[in-house]
């Protein structure tokens, strides 16, 4: 695997973790808002 592909993978996974956590917070907040 080329260096560029590995570095691109690192960025995709890191940003992916942030996006996944943001979506998780959004869904949890929406559920809490619906129940209130």
């Amino acid at each position: 695997m080329s260096d560029t592909a590995v570095v691109a993978g690192v960025f995709v996974i890191s940003y992916g973790m942030i996006i996944a956590y943001s979506v998780y917070l959004h869904l949890r907040r929406r559920r809490a808002t619906t129940r209130s």
């Binding site: 260096d3 560029t4 590995v6 570095v7 690192v10 960025f11 996974i13 890191s14 940003y15 973790m17 942030i18 956590y21 943001s22 917070l25 959004h26 949890r28 907040r29 809490a32 808002t33 129940r35 209130s36």
Partner: protein, 236 residues
């Protein structure tokens, strides 16, 4: 548009600018493309240190004032700090594999102390989930939040105090060892990650506030419809 949406929009824009700086900064002459990882690795760990500092501050304030908002601040910051530490560990392992020829070394003080910090704050989250009573939960996690922050300076200065594979700080009081373009790219990403941290904190504390309100409503409703005990019911 709510305050949280505005914050996330600003954070997304800042992260996009940060990514552009990270991908267009000149690569290091020795490390090549791998040097770009610094733009995620360093900001995420700096923000993890900040997040755990905020957890300690929130914990101290809860122990002093006993106000629920300080507990929300502390717990939200710890969770986001764990996320950033996880990203820092992952990016560091890939970078270490490329540059040092090994992804991990348990004998290395910086790597091991960071891993210990990660697991201690995972334990903080587990502790909160293990206790149901909100006051007991807040007290126990506040004590852990104050004790655990001792690790932050230990992790940060481990590269100066011990012999380690990890390089020493690139930014020091007497200047930086990095070329200007790489330094600017990294600092732009530090700003972007800081804005992201603020947005995540706003969302996470809001979730906690809503869930606490729901829990109180459910408890009150539960009391209202609680069936009478058999001993309290007279003969029908």
């Amino acid at each position: 548009m709510t305050r949280i949406r505005v914050l996330f929009s600003v954070a997304a824009a800042a992260m996009t600018v940060g990514l552009w700086f990270a991908l267009t900064a000149p690569p290091d002459s020795l490390q090549g493309e791998y040097s770009r990882i610094i733009n995620v690795h360093v900001p995420s760990l700096w923000l993890a240190f900040l997040a755990f500092g905020v957890t300690a501050l929130g914990s101290i304030m809860w122990l002093w004032k006993k106000k629920q908002r300080w507990d929300r601040l502390a717990s939200a910051s710890a969770e986001i700090g764990v996320l950033f530490t996880g990203i820092g560990l992952f990016t560091g392992m890939v970078w270490g594999h490329a540059v040092w020829g090994r992804a991990w070394d348990w004998g290395d003080p910086r790597l091991t102390s960071t891993a210990v910090m990660f697991f201690v704050y995972l334990g903080y989250i587990a502790l909160r989930n293990a206790v149901d009573d909100p006051v007991v939960k807040a007290r126990r996690s506040a004590i852990l939040g104050v004790v655990a922050v001792v690790q932050v300076p230990l992790v940060y200065f481990s590269v100066n105090l011990f012999r380690t594979l990890h390089q020493t700080q690139s930014i020091r009081p007497d200047g930086s060892t990095m070329p200007a373009e790489m330094l600017i790219a990294m600092l732009v990403n530090v700003v972007a990650f800081t804005i992201l941290y603020v947005a995540l904190m706003a969302a996470r504390t809001d979730v906690a506030r809503l869930e606490e309100a729901n829990r109180e409503t459910e408890l009150l409703a539960g009391d209202a419809v609680k069936p009478p005990k058999l001993s309290e019911v007279g003969d029908v």
